[in-house]
């Protein structure tokens, strides 16, 4: 049994991978912002820096700046700084963009920039030093006139590095962050602001930790917003919901911006060739529950899923139980009275139900109860429609399976022993005939979810299907992708569970699976 279970689980892995690929491919349908050349970027930055930032952010948010599956040369803060300095030294078309980028990266780039400052040509040094002026402003050093003057700016930065390089170390920053978290005073906040973006990794770590309280999150978030320029609204009256929203916001910001502020070591670099891709980023987000934010109302998709999924799950499971409860007796009667008028009447009825479009049935019932029906009535009708749509398949399957069993010798033996017909049917035949139905439970789930979309829409029930239709109306890719992923995974896991249950109930299935290489089709 254990070997069978493990084998079956291993088989599900490629499928789960396939599901993630399908959901990822859905994300690629979202139209990408056009890719601009360096000259166009330069032009955009010169005209409107805010629009330039918005453009870069929009590409970055969906990882459009990364390759789809393999990233041969992942960039980190060190590489970006070197590239920017190179552009500034040559003073070519990328100089303006590079200056802007250097200013954005700020303090996190200092360990790779300032120690090698002297090696640059004097003119290049001046350009780099002037590019850092916005950083000086963020650090509260802009009142020093030397930072503004091209001639003295390099000295200003060299001096700053000589004085402060000890503060640009991990442990020093960690202590400052801990002190800030515990209680805010102007001095503690200044400690962090003075190392600028270098504090971001520690700030993010502190915000991720569970021990950090809501008020601490608010303080940390304010500093992080100040240095990174990523605005996160912190309400005056802090609530737990607001805090978790802030945490989620920063977590998703950090996954897309981490490489701008952190240097990768050798291991991370190898990992980054796969993870620093659109698929990798997306998968990482999906695995950690960071499915993004629903654009319609700004709620995290994972939270919205937690609200909607129970409704859909309750509908689906009740419909499934109800349809099994109806289908099994119908199938048994059909098989027992094979070829009689009863069987034919049942088969005809089932056939009509099989072809009945569920949206039509749902509309009919909706018209029948009128628009002012209560939530309970509508939920019951929804379950009825879903049941009607799946009962046909189930009862046909049950009839066929029951017919197979009734032809078996042990049933004849049971009858020959003189057992009552009811006992033969229920104990000897049905117990065996119902086992294959277990597999159908796994197959029914995706089908019932498809029906749920229509039914929830007609009866206005706030489940995943209803929410999906709202997402379609507002072109909300985040929610659609999240739904595709969750539903696909849910269906695979149900199928897995039902297969394992089938193997548990029927040893022959286990043997067949272990013997053959391929899943029994």
């Amino acid at each position: 049994m254990l070997r069978y279970t493990i084998r079956r689980i291993l088989w599900a892995i490629p499928t789960i991978f396939g599901i993630s690929i399908v959901a990822f491919l859905v994300t690629t349908l979202i139209p990408a912002p056009p890719r601009l050349t360096l000259a166009e970027l330069d032009d955009a930055l010169a005209k409107n820096p805010a629009a330039y930032d918005a453009y870069v952010e929009s590409r970055r948010a969906s990882a459009f700046d990364l390759p789809a599956f393999v990233n041969e040369s992942p960039r980190d803060v060190q590489a970006i700084v070197a590239e920017c300095v190179d552009h500034l030294a040559k003073n070519d078309a990328g100089a303006r963009v590079s200056a802007h980028e250097l200013a954005r990266i700020g303090g996190a780039g200092f360990p790779y920039l300032l120690p090698t400052f002297d090696r640059l040509e004097p003119a290049a040094r001046e350009r780099v030093a002037l590019a850092l002026l916005p950083v000086a402003e963020r650090m509260g050093q802009a009142d020093d006139p030397r930072a503004h003057d091209p001639a003295s700016a390099p000295t200003f930065w060299t001096q700053l590095w000589e004085d402060r390089s000890l503060e640009f170390t991990g442990p020093a920053v960690r202590r400052s962050v801990q002190r800030l978290a515990r209680g805010v005073t102007a001095g503690r906040e200044r400690d962090l602001i003075e190392v600028d973006t270098f504090a971001l990794p520690e700030l993010m770590r502190a915000m991720r930790e569970r021990t950090t309280t809501d008020d601490e999150v608010a303080r940390l978030s304010q500093v992080a917003s100040h240095v990174s320029g990523h605005a996160v609204v912190v309400p005056i009256a802090m609530t737990h919901e607001a805090a978790s929203r802030i945490r989620a916001d920063w977590a998703s910001w950090w996954t897309t911006h981490r490489e701008d502020y952190v240097a990768l070591d050798a291991g991370e670099r190898i990992f980054a060739t796969l993870s620093d891709t659109r698929y990798g980023r997306w998968l990482l987000g999906a695995v950690t529950g960071e499915l993004g934010t629903v654009t319609r109302d700004g709620e995290p998709a994972s939270q919205k899923l937690a609200e909607c999924a129970p409704v859909t799950l309750a509908l689906t499971l009740s419909a499934m139980f109800l349809s099994f409860a109806i289908a099994v007796p119908i199938g048994v009667i059909g098989a027992r009275r094979r070829g009689t008028r009863v069987d034919r009447a049942l088969a005809g009825l089932i056939f009509l139900f099989y072809s009945l479009p569920s949206f039509f049935l749902a509309e009919l019932l909706d018209h029948a109860v009128g628009p002012r029906a209560g939530g309970g009535t509508r939920a019951i009708l929804a379950i009825l429609v879903m049941t009607a749509s799946s009962v046909a398949t189930l009862s046909r399957f049950q009839r066929a399976s029951m017919m197979d069993v009734l032809d078996q010798d042990w049933v004849r033996t049971a009858r020959a022993k003189g057992l009552r017909e009811r006992r033969v049917l229920v104990v000897h035949a049905l117990r065996n005939a119902i086992v294959p139905m277990v597999t159908l439970a796994g197959v029914q789930l995706p089908f019932l979810f498809g029906t749920a979309i229509v039914v929830e829409e007609v009866f206005q029930l706030p489940g995943m299907g209803y929410e999906t239709m709202r997402a379609v109306e507002s072109h909300d890719a985040t929610w659609l992708v999240a739904t595709v992923l969750v539903v696909g995974l849910g269906a695979t896991l149900t199928l897995l569970a039902s297969d394992i249950a089938y193997g548990f109930l029927d040893p022959r299935i286990r043997e067949r699976l272990l013997k053959t290489r391929e899943v029994a089709e």
Binding site: F351, P357, F359, F447, I453, V454, A471, V472, V484
Partner: protein
């Protein structure tokens, strides 16, 4: 020779002909096909043949000539000159343009035998053209998914190994998703969603069943003597596949095609009902049904298109199952429903 094989198609068709209800399904289906082919003769705002101001226009209902752009039946009657005549379609209204008062009951007006909808469009015309769009989409999608499924299934069964593995995993992956969900997500996000993208999406999602059938059939045929004989005679693997193995898969493919037709009509009208199927300019049953939500008391806007979906799906299912029973009586009743 093939007529004597138990699984042969011709035999199956003869078998189906003998069953009254299966025959009725086939006739119903044929009628729907005829309606969709001759939609313009049943409902159009232009006459079939007419003579106006000395000019004879033939098939103006199909071609919509520029000179007759403003013409309606009422206008024709009022401006009629001596010598003018016209043969009109059954209903002199097109499906898209409002043509009379809104929400007219069926049989209440000679002009609109099945009434009009909320914006004054003729229900009969919309049903007729809805039949056309449903059947056309279903036919094209079925043709596509059968081609795709047969190719992939044959490749999986014939080459085995990694090809088989990849196809099997793709089938498993796609079966995990509810087809309507993926179709509607793709239709919603695709920048230029329309008829062709709908057909392509349906085909891309529905090929799995055919692939499974063809693969199983190919695997079953492979070890048989005539295949070995063809190999021994020096036939290339592709020739063996094409000439000897694939012809045997025709029967299950035909059954899958007929059943698929009904399922796709169901899927497509469900998507139209959710307004993510065909573009809004195309009249469809599903869209009519969803419009009926805005006119709660107008029963005909709900019942007529709904009944048509039901009837067409029932007809294809009936025919498909009769065919399958005739081809392989043991395999009956085990199809699993896929569409809402």
């Amino acid at each position: 020779m093939s007529e004597h094989r138990p699984g042969s198609l011709r035999r199956a068709i003869r078998h189906v002909r003998r069953r009254r209800w299966a025959d009725a399904c086939a006739v119903l289906l044929a009628m729907l096909v005829l309606v969709s082919i001759f939609a313009e003769e049943l409902a159009s705002s232009r006459p079939i043949i007419c003579k106006i101001h000395g000019h004879v226009h033939v098939l103006a209902n199909v071609e919509h000539p520029r000179e007759l752009r403003e013409l309606t039946r009422a206008k024709f009657e009022s401006e009629r000159e001596p010598g003018d005549w016209a043969v009109w379609p059954l209903v002199a209204c097109g499906p898209r343009v409002p043509c009379g008062r809104a929400v007219v009951r069926p049989l209440a007006s000679a002009m609109h035998p099945l009434g009009t909808d909320g914006s004054g469009r003729d229900v009969f015309a919309r049903l007729v053209y809805g039949t056309r769009s449903a059947l056309a989409v279903a036919a094209i999608a079925v043709a596509l998914f059968i081609l795709l499924g047969a190719a992939l299934g044959a490749a999986a069964g014939f080459f085995g190994g990694s090809v088989d593995f990849v196809v099997a995993r793709a089938v498993e992956t796609l079966s995990a998703f509810p087809v309507p969900l993926l179709a509607l997500v793709v239709q919603a996000l695709l920048p230029r969603a329309g008829t062709w993208s709908l057909v392509a999406v349906i085909a891309a999602l529905r090929w799995t069943e055919v692939a499974r059938l063809v693969r199983a059939e190919v695997l079953a045929t492979e070890p048989r003597d005539f295949v070995t004989a063809a190999r021994a005679l020096g036939a290339s693997p592709l020739r063996v596949l094409y000439k000897h193995v694939l012809p045997l898969t025709i029967s299950p493919i035909v059954v899958a095609a007929v059943l698929g037709l009904g399922q796709i009509v169901l899927l497509e009208s469900a998507l139209d009902f959710l307004r993510v199927g065909l573009p809004a300019s195309v009249p469809t049953w599903g869209e009519m049904l969803s419009e009926s939500r805005e006119h709660f008391s107008a029963w005909w806007l709900l019942l007529l298109p709904g009944a048509l979906v039901f009837v067409s799906v029932t007809a294809t299912n009936g025919l498909g199952e009769a065919l399958r029973d005739a081809l392989d009586p043991r395999a009956s009743t085990l199809s699993i429903k896929n569409e809402p």
